[in-house]
Symmetry: C2
Subunit: 214 residues, 2 copies
DNA sequence: GCGTCTCGGATTGTATACGTTCCGGATTTC
DNA sequence: GAAATCCGGAACGTATACAATCCGAGACGC
């Protein structure tokens, strides 16, 4: 993808995910082109890409609208995410045990340390970013391409629902992250998978509370 | 999406899924434009769409190549599919129990009947089509949009791996389909979900055998 | 007054033109 | 002889122009 197209795609994705462009908003290619300072061609590419990810709905010859936040599907998304992330964590442990994941443990440890630091300094935005980074790193490290693909979409949709409330990464989350890294570093695939599944499940539970509190 | 773009996307998808365009093949937009009788613009759209689904890999300014068939990820894909399809079947039963799924049971029953007929007449291609149709109908009927989206991608990737071997729908598959429909018709969400999960698991097992026999 | 039909503006869809980037081969140099 | 460099062609990336399609406002008829 060209530079402009990529830039527009990411900008538009952020604007949708953060709610700057509210669900139901009607988007015209011309307006987006002016908003992001480019022509309609890169805009088209971005719109198509986000529609494929389910963030936009588009009707033939009638433009695109921001889709509804998938609050009703949250439980489903978490169920899939739990399985998929359990697999990726398990694969990471396998690769470490086989000596084929040089640097992975160090990378994950670094993210966890940074996460605790963000927590101590009370910077929730940084913590949320590091949280996403951690799970993305596990997915990459698993070398399971299909799962990485599926997870990116699922996680983004969960994050989208999250964005309507206050996202907060508690101390427990980072403690659990650390436990997962320990299991991966030990090359224990069973424990790594189980630890990740429990982590996702608790994440779901705490989020569910947050939603109900609204 | 315009008519031309949609046509090219589906044609290209079929050509990749059926192996007409072998993995590793290098694709240029100009060549595809000529092949499908249109200009480069709809071709670009199709290429981008298939790349997003993981069928093509594209490097900036250097064109697209057909990706590798995800044989190594098959176990992972089946694990996700099992959970996701269990959920959709369960949702169908819920909706039937609530009286909100008028016509769904009839639709599913019709597909199952057709499947048995294709089986009796020994038309494996028709059987494979109906199999995909059955699972797609369950996904639609569940009204779980996120799961439908995830499942489409996962199922297509599984089908892709399948296509390199001989796809065959046995009698057992259609018997299981019928059991799933019965559970849905009864509005029994637990049994519907479990029946679907078992069905997917057996499907995976029989496919695994097929792969090893190659 | 309400429904329907038609027409005009607006927006998407496609084609073409041009600039930019990348890859591969030939040349040059060490 | 091998490696690095440079150059030419080819393909992608973006912009612009034009055609096809759709939606809504207004007029007309009932």
């Amino acid at each position: 993808m060209g530079a402009a197209a990529e830039r527009v795609t990411e900008a538009l994705r952020q604007d949708v995910l953060t709610g700057v462009l509210a669900p139901g908003s009607r988007l015209t290619e011309a307006a987006l082109a002016e908003r992001y300072g480019t022509s309609r061609v890169p805009v088209r590419e971005a719109v198509r890409a986000l529609a494929a990810d389910g963030f936009l709905e588009l009707r033939p010859n009638a433009g695109a609208t921001v889709a509804a936040v998938p609050v009703d599907d949250l439980a489903d998304l978490y169920a899939v995410r739990r399985v998929a992330e359990g697999i990726t964590a398990s694969r990471c442990a396998q690769r470490v045990a086989a000596g084929r994941a040089e640097g992975l443990v160090a990378e994950l440890s670094g993210i966890v340390d940074a996460g605790f630091e963000a927590l101590a300094q009370d910077r929730p935005a940084e913590g949320a970013r590091l949280n996403a980074e951690f799970h993305a790193a596990v997915a990459r490290g698993s070398q399971a391409q299909s799962m990485t693909m599926v997870l990116r979409r699922v996680s983004e949709r969960i994050q989208w629902a999250y964005s309507t409330t206050v996202a907060q990464q508690g101390k427990r989350a980072w403690t659990e992250h650390r436990q997962i890294v320990v299991a991966i570093a030990a090359g224990n695939e069973v424990r790594a998978g189980q630890a990740m599944e429990r982590h996702i499940e608790r994440s779901r539970a705490s989020f569910h509370t947050g939603v109900r509190e609204r």
